[in-house]
């Protein structure tokens, strides 16, 4: 088990490093921070002085290592070009709202996907299974921001059940959470169903039935425990999709989270903030995958030994 975790950790750290590298070099693709930060009338000598001061005259790899050192040791991404405060501080302020939204959506997704996916697998090709499959198909074709806007129009404007933007009360959370949940629900439902189907086709299920166990016992004691593995893996894998969806959802509902900060920062070319958000998102994705892998390995020895 220890070697398994160490292997996964090394891989995860590698992924984080590469992502930090990509996000760093994005800045160098065609913008010069010195030109962005200094007033347009700055003299050439001023620019050179400024570059020396900021360390921008050093070779790019050296700058990257410096960037990495600051990020790892101090969590310092530099100052936001626009807000003139540390980018890390901006991210810290916005992070809770995004986590709140993502968690609400995740709970909602599992509340629907688990029962529906399991029943679909047990009663395969039943009316309910077909309806669920068809709904998932529709859901996959639905652009989530359009769904969000339609929710606003129907429940916010016509029926006036929920507020349409902001984040003051729990009622503000309903529409964004439903929108974000709709983004990953179709895939989640399909994966739960296929995971459960895989388990139900295993020999040990047949053995359990042959022993004369009641169907309820077969499902609860043998099927669910094994079907938990794909469900955990799916949830871990969807952290990325969840965060990506949050970017869009937050923009539609004016939700004050990281996603909207990301869109604003990218539009304005505020790269320290973009870099900070990319690294934070990547950390979440990597930790999500890591946690899912380790949990799955804890439950199923075949994974950690195989």
């Amino acid at each position: 088990m220890r070697t398994f975790i160490i292997k996964q950790l090394v891989q995860a750290i590698g992924v984080c490093l590469v992502i930090s590298m990509i996000s760093f070099f994005l800045l160098f693709l065609n913008t010069d921070p010195a030109l962005l930060l200094l007033p347009p009338e700055a003299e050439v000598s001023d620019i050179a002085k400024f570059k020396k001061q900021m360390g921008l005259d050093r070779p790019v790899p050296v700058q990257y290592l410096d960037f990495l050192r600051k990020v790892v040791l101090h969590g310092d991404f530099g100052n936001s070009f626009m807000a003139k405060v540390p980018a890390a501080k901006l991210v810290r302020e916005r992070l809770p709202a995004t986590i709140e939204l993502a968690l609400a959506a995740l709970i909602l997704v599992n509340l629907v996907a688990l029962p529906v996916g399991i029943v679909s697998a047990i009663r395969r090709y039943s009316l309910m299974d077909n309806v669920a499959t068809f709904t998932a198909l529709l859901g996959q074709a639905m652009p989530l921001y359009w769904f969000g806007i339609m929710l606003i129009i129907i429940f916010g404007v016509w029926l006036r059940w929920f507020p349409i933007s902001g984040s003051d009360t729990w009622a503000h959370l309903v529409l964004p959470a439903v929108t974000l949940a709709s983004w990953i629900l179709p895939i989640n439902m399909r994966m739960v169903r296929s995971g459960m189907l895989d388990v139900l086709n295993q020999d040990y299920i047949r053995t359990a039935r042959a022993k004369g166990l009641t169907e309820r016992k077969v499902l609860i004691k043998h099927a669910f425990k094994n079907a938990a593995i794909p469900v955990i893996t799916i949830t871990g894998m969807q952290v990325g999709a969840l965060l990506g969806g949050a970017v869009v959802t937050e923009t539609v509902f004016a939700w004050p989270g990281l996603g909207r900060l990301a869109v604003d920062s990218i539009r304005m070319g505020d790269y320290p903030v973009v870099q900070a958000i990319v690294v934070v998102f990547a950390l979440f994705v990597v930790i999500g995958n890591l946690a899912a892998d380790i949990l799955a390995a804890l439950i199923d020895p075949r994974i950690r030994l195989g």
Binding site: V15, L26, S126, A141, P143, I149, V157, V248, V278
Partner: protein, 301 residues
């Protein structure tokens, strides 16, 4: 789905009966035909929109702004879906929008396919170090939220049609690599590849003549579904202001413009989104049917 009205509660038998399977096939095929029909409509509209559209997509008439659709009270038959905030005909712009969506979707998928399939072939066939490096790269890309990378790329490269295609292609290839890598690994162990090897065929010939043709079904199925995703993603980038720029009629741009008027003129946001939905649905339905025809085993994933 009337033929499935009777609940199927037999949990003992996981595989459906022959009749059930035939019905299932037919149902899927029917959905596939519907999907194909939607796609044909899409292509037809994209090709012939100058003849189909009642107006000019760029012609503004401020006196006619925010006109209601024809089916509502006060709507004019001249503007079937109403007019936008600059007095342009909404239907015309939606029809022209199919061009952008199809071009971006197809071009982005071709780009993804070229990069993704090549890397997948190399990783799957040679294994070892090449596989380790490519798999690691795929893991890294998967850890990067697509939307942030694509938005940053567009921001850095500049928002043009070409750069949006590049951004979508650069972020979308790992899906192909992952599938092709595993399929190639499976094929590599088969007898006919062994036979080709023992005949001293060159690696290039084995890859091009023996492996690739066997991967075609998987590639076609995957590519179909990815076109739908690319269309949705393009509209998403345009919606966020980092894609196609106004006044070009892209569905995402129209949705973003319509969003500002959603409190009163709901149709401005509703109809462009409906177009995206129908296009993506059509492609997904066809993709699903193709997957069933090509390889029922793939269905589970």
């Amino acid at each position: 789905m009337p033929e499935f009205a009777a609940p199927y509660s037999d949990t003992e038998e996981a595989a459906p009966t022959t009749l059930k399977r035939v019905l299932q096939k037919m149902w899927h095929l029917r959905m596939g035909v519907l999907g194909g029909f939607l796609i044909l409509c899409l292509i037809f509209v994209a090709l012939f929109c100058p003849y189909l559209a009642p107006h000019d997509p760029y012609k503004q008439d401020i006196t006619k702004r925010l006109g209601k659709p024809a089916f509502m009270d006060g709507g004019k038959a001249e503007y079937p879906l109403g007019t936008d905030h600059l007095g342009r005909d909404l239907l015309t712009r939606i029809l022209y929008g199919t061009r952008i969506s199809l071009v971006v979707g197809l071009a982005a998928v071709i780009l993804m396919l070229t990069v993704g399939v090549t890397l997948g072939l190399v990783a799957g066939y040679f294994g070892g170090k090449a596989d380790a490096v490519i798999s690691f790269l795929v893991n890294c890309m998967m850890g990067f939220p697509f939307i942030l990378l694509a938005m940053s790329l567009v921001a850095v490269l500049g928002a043009s049609l070409q750069n949006i295609i590049i951004a979508l292609g650069c972020t979308g290839w790992p899906v192909f690599t992952r599938v092709i890598r595993i399929e190639t690994m499976k094929l590599r162990e088969r007898e006919f590849i062994l036979a080709a090897k023992s005949l001293a065929f060159s690696t290039r010939r084995i890859l091009a003549r023996h492996i690739l043709p066997n991967l075609l079904p998987a590639i076609i199925v995957l590519a179909t579904v990815e076109v739908a995703r690319a269309i949705i993603r393009e509209s998403l980038l345009s919606f966020l202001g980092l894609g196609i720029q106004p006044p070009t009629p892209s569905w995402g741009v129209m949705l973003a413009e319509g969003r500002d008027y959603m409190l009163l003129q709901w149709w401005l946001a509703a109809f462009p989104g409906m177009a995206i939905f129908l296009a993506a649905l059509g492609i997904n339905l066809l993709g699903d049917a193709l997957r069933d025809l090509v390889d029922p085993y793939l269905r589970k994933t």
